[in-house]
C-alpha cells in the first residue's frame, strides 16, 4: 500500500492521531529548549555538516585508517558488502563460539539487515535490550521510530503485552511497575547471554575506537558481561578524530530528545583480556548512494530522529505507514535509493515544508532531496495515467498564454455553474472535507483590462 493509503487507515482513529502528534511534538519542543541553551547552535550544525562532508569525500582513506587502528587495538574488523554478508559474518562469529543466546542493544543497521530473523532461523535467541525495542520485539512489530521504537504504543498497550509475555500483573499502564518488571526480565537475559551485539554511533578513524550512545546503559551491560562483543556499523558512521565527538555528542542527544547528552556515551577501544571484540563494517547500498550527487548528503545522518519528531506528516501518519526500516523524512530519501519502485510513494509523503532540513543537526537538505527524488520517480516508475496526463497537459496549456486564458475561463465557468453533486463527487479528493473557493464574476485579467480601458 502507498503511504497515503496507510496514512488514511491511521487517521481513522483521530484521537490516536492527536495523541501521537502531541507525544512527538513534546519531544520536538524539548529539543528546541535544549538547543536554545547552546550558544552557537547553528555554528555547531555547520561544523557537523562540514565534518560529515569531509568524511564522505575521503571515506576510503578514513575507513582504512579506522581498520588499521582498530586492528592495532586487538579488534577484528570485518567487511560486508550487503545485508546478507553482514548476517553471515555475525552468525559465523557466533557459531565459532557456539553461542545460543545473544543480547542486542539498539542498532538500526541490524534492523535494516533483518539480522534477528536470520539468527533465529539458526536457532539463536536474540533479545533486544533497549526497552522500546524489546516492546516492539514482543509485539512482533518493527520499530516505528529510530530513537523511540515503541512511540506508537500507549502504556496501557504495553501493560497488556507484558502480561502476556512477561507474566506481569495488570497495572493500568503504571510505567514504574512496567519498567521495573522489564528490568528484571532483561537482567536475566543479560546474565545468560553468550555474546552481545551493539550498534555504533561514531567510529573514530584516528583511534580505531567507537562510541555507542544509550540512555539505559544496555549496550555496556551486554558488552561487559558477554565474552564476545560484535559491533555492527554502516560505513558512513566515521568521524576523523576523537575531538570531533565534541561536536556530535552535543548535537545528537539534544536533537533526539532534548537531553544535553545521552545518559551513557560508551567508548569502546579494545577487548578486555580473554574476550573478543569484532566490528562489522557494512555497505549495503551506501556506496551507491554516495555516488548519487543529489542524494549523497543523506549519508550525513546521525540517526537522531529529530526530522521525524518535527515532521507534521510523520506525526500524523505514524512510523509504520512508511513501510521502511527508517521512517519519516530521512527514510523517505534513503529508501528510494534501496528500492525505487517499492518506496516510490515516500518522496510524495511530504508538503516540502522544509522543517526537517532546518531541524537536522547535520544540515541534510532533506526536503530538496525529496523534490529531486520526485523528478527521478516520475521518469523511472510508471505513474497513474490520470495524474500524468493532467500534469503533462497543464505543462503545455500553461506555456501558452492564449490557451491558458481559454481554459482558465471555462474552468471557472464550470466551477460556478456545475451542480454541486458533480463538483463534490467521489473523484474530487479536495471536496471530501473542504469547500471549493467561491467563484467571483471576473478574474483578475478581466478586471485589469477593464480598469485600463477606463483610465
Amino acid at each position: 500500500m502507498a503511504h497515503a493509503d496507510e496514512a488514511a487507515v491511521f487517521n481513522k482513529d483521530e484521537a490516536k492521531v492527536d495523541w501521537h502528534d502531541k507525544a512527538l511534538w513534546f519531544v520536538r519542543q524539548k529539543r528546541d529548549k535544549s538547543a536554545h541553551n547552546v550558544k552557537g547552535w547553528e555554528n555547531l550544525r555547520d561544523l557537523a555538516s562540514a565534518i560529515k562532508a569531509n568524511v564522505l569525500s575521503n571515506l576510503d582513506g578514513y575507513l582504512l585508517q579506522f581498520e588499521e587502528n582498530a586492528q592495532k587495538n586487538g579488534v577484528t574488523v570485518h567487511w560486508a558488502a550487503d545485508a546478507e554478508e553482514h548476517n553471515k559474518i555475525v552468525h559465523s562469529i557466533l557459531a565459532k563460539h557456539d553461542v545460543k543466546k545473544v543480547v542486542k542493544s539498539k542498532s538500526m543497521l541490524t534492523e535494516e539487515c533483518h539480522l534477528n530473523p536470520y539468527l533465529e532461523s539458526h536457532d539463536i535467541e536474540v533479545i533486544d535490550t533497549d526497552l522500546g525495542e524489546r516492546i516492539v520485539q514482543l509485539a512482533q512489530e518493527p520499530p516505528s521510530h529510530i530513537v523511540l521504537p515503541a512511540i506508537h504504543k500507549r502504556k496501557e498497550e504495553v501493560d497488556v503485552l507484558f502480561q502476556e509475555h512477561l507474566g506481569t500483573k495488570p497495572c493500568n499502564g503504571d510505567p514504574q511497575y512496567l519498567t521495573s518488571e522489564a528490568r528484571k526480565h532483561l537482567r536475566d537475559k543479560f546474565l545468560k547471554a553468550d555474546a552481545a551485539i551493539t550498534g555504533v554511533n561514531f567510529a573514530v578513524a584516528d583511534t580505531g575506537g567507537f562510541v555507542v550512545c544509550t540512555n539505559e546503559g544496555n549496550a555496556d551491560m551486554g558488552a561487559h558481561l558477554a565474552k564476545v562483543h560484535i559491533a555492527c556499523m554502516g560505513m558512513e558512521k566515521l568521524i576523523p578524530q576523537e575531538k570531533h565527538l565534541g561536536v556530535f555528542l552535543r548535537l545528537l542527544a539534544r536533537s533526539a530528545t532534548g537531553q544535553p547528552i545521552t545518559t551513557y556515551s560508551s567508548h569502546f577501544n579494545k577487548p578486555e583480556p580473554g574476550k573478543e571484540m569484532h566490528i562489522v563494517i557494512v555497505d549495503n547500498g551506501r556506496t551507491e548512494q554516495l555516488s548519487r550527487e543529489d542524494f549523497r548528503a543523506s549519508l550525513h545522518c546521525i540517526r537522531c530522529g529529530a526530522c521525524m519528531n518535527t515532521c507534521p506528516i510523520y506525526r500524523r501518519s505514524g512510523g509504520h505507514s512508511y513501510k521502511a526500516t527508517i521512517p519519516g523524512p530521512i527514510g523517505s530519501i534513503l529508501s528510494p535509493g534501496i528500492d525505487l519502485k517499492k518506496h516510490s510513494s515516500l518522496p510524495f509523503a511530504s508538503t516540502l515544508c522544509g522543517s526537517c532540513s532546518d531541524v537536522c543537526p547535520v544540515k541534510i537538505n532533506i526536503h530538496e532531496q525529496l523534490y529531486k527524488w520526485r523528478q527521478v520517480i516520475v521518469k523511472d516508475v510508471p505513474q497513474p495515467v490520470v495524474k500524468k496526463t493532467v500534469l503533462k497537459i497543464a505543462g503545455s496549456v500553461l506555456a501558452n498564454s492564449k490557451m491558458y486564458s481559454f481554459v482558465g475561463k471555462s474552468s471557472r465557468f464550470m466551477l460556478k455553474h456545475a451542480p454541486r453533486f458533480l463538483i463534490y463527487s467521489k473523484l474530487n479528493a479536495w471536496g471530501k472535507a473542504r469547500d471549493l473557493p467561491e467563484v467571483k464574476n471576473e478574474n483578475f485579467d478581466e478586471w485589469y483590462k477593464k480598469r485600463k480601458k477606463n483610465e
Binding site: 500524523r316 522544509g354 497543464a394 500553461l398 498564454s401 473542504r434 467571483k440
Partner: protein
C-alpha cells in the same frame, strides 16, 4: 523603478480581490506597476509533482513576460520561491538570472526593497498569521522555530503598524497547514488533518481573521473553515495592508 506584477494563476482565476489589493498597495507606495497580461503560472505544480522537465516552457514564458522589469512582485511566497529556487532547470542566461534575482514576495519587497513598514492601513480585528512554509523556510521571510536565530518576521513587522490590529500568538507558530499542492489531494487524509489542527490553533488563540502571504495555504484552510462553518475569516495579507476600515 518599474515593477512587473506577478499574479499566480490560482489568484488570477479564483481570488481576483487579492490581485487587486496587491496592485493597490504597491500603487499607494508610489511604485509604477505593470501587469503583463500574457502571464500564466510559475510551473510549481508540475515541479512539485515531479514533472519539472515538462514545465520548462512555462518557466521560459515567465521569463519572457517579466524580463524587462526592475522587480517582479507577487502575493504568493511559494510561487516566488519556485522562481528563485527551481528556475535552475532553464539555461542560465543573463535574463533568467536577472528575473530570478529580482522576483520578490510582496511583503519582502515592501520591507526589504522599499524599506517601509507603515502603509497607513487600519484593520480593527484579532489576527493570526499563517506563516507559509515556502515563504518562511524558503524565502526566509522570518525566523523559523527550528533554528536558533534571533526572532524576526516580515509579516509581523508590517502588521504591527496596522491601526487597530491585534496580533495573536499561536501555540505552534509555524507548523505547516498541509496544503502542499498536489499533496492536498493525493494525501487527502493527512492534508485535511493538518489543516484542521492549524485552524484549531487559531481558534484556541482567540483569532478572528487568519492571514498570510500565500493564498494557496489560505485556500486550503478556508475550504475547511467553510465546510465546518467555523467562526474564522480568511484574508490575504495584501487585503489587510490595503484596508482602511
Amino acid at each position: 523603478m518599474k515593477v512587473g506584477l506577478f499574479i499566480p494563476c490560482y489568484i488570477n482565476q479564483l481570488y481576483p480581490q487579492v490581485g487587486i489589493a496587491t496592485l493597490e498597495v504597491l500603487e499607494k507606495l508610489g511604485v509604477e506597476v505593470v501587469y503583463p497580461t500574457g502571464q500564466t503560472c510559475c510551473g510549481q505544480p508540475l515541479g512539485n509533482s515531479g514533472y519539472e522537465d515538462d514545465s520548462k516552457g512555462i518557466c521560459q514564458l515567465f521569463v519572457e513576460n517579466f524580463k524587462e522589469f526592475d522587480y517582479i512582485v507577487g502575493p504568493s511566497g511559494s510561487c516566488v520561491y519556485h522562481v528563485k529556487k527551481h528556475f535552475d532547470i532553464l539555461e542560465q542566461t543573463e535574463e533568467v538570472i536577472r528575473v530570478r534575482k529580482n522576483t520578490y514576495e510582496l511583503c519582502q519587497f515592501i520591507y526589504e526593497v522599499l524599506g517601509k513598514t507603515d502603509l497607513g492601513a487600519s484593520f480593527p480585528y484579532k489576527v493570526g498569521i499563517h506563516k507559509s512554509c515556502h515563504g518562511l523556510r524558503g524565502l526566509r521571510l522570518g525566523s523559523c522555530s527550528e533554528r536558533m536565530d534571533d526572532h524576526y518576521s516580515t509579516e509581523e513587522s508590517l502588521l504591527k503598524e496596522v491601526k487597530g490590529l491585534e496580533l495573536k500568538t499561536l501555540n505552534r507558530v509555524d507548523e505547516c497547514c498541509g496544503f502542499g499542492g498536489t499533496f492536498s489531494v493525493f494525501e487527502e487524509a493527512i492534508s485535511v488533518k493538518m489543516g484542521k489542527d492549524r485552524i484549531q490553533d487559531h481558534l484556541d488563540s482567540d483569532v478572528e481573521v487568519v492571514t498570510g502571504a500565500d493564498h494557496s495555504c489560505l485556500m486550503h484552510l478556508e475550504g475547511l473553515i467553510n465546510r465546518n462553518k467555523q467562526p474564522l475569516k480568511v484574508m490575504h495579507i495584501a487585503e489587510i495592508l490595503n484596508s482602511s476600515i
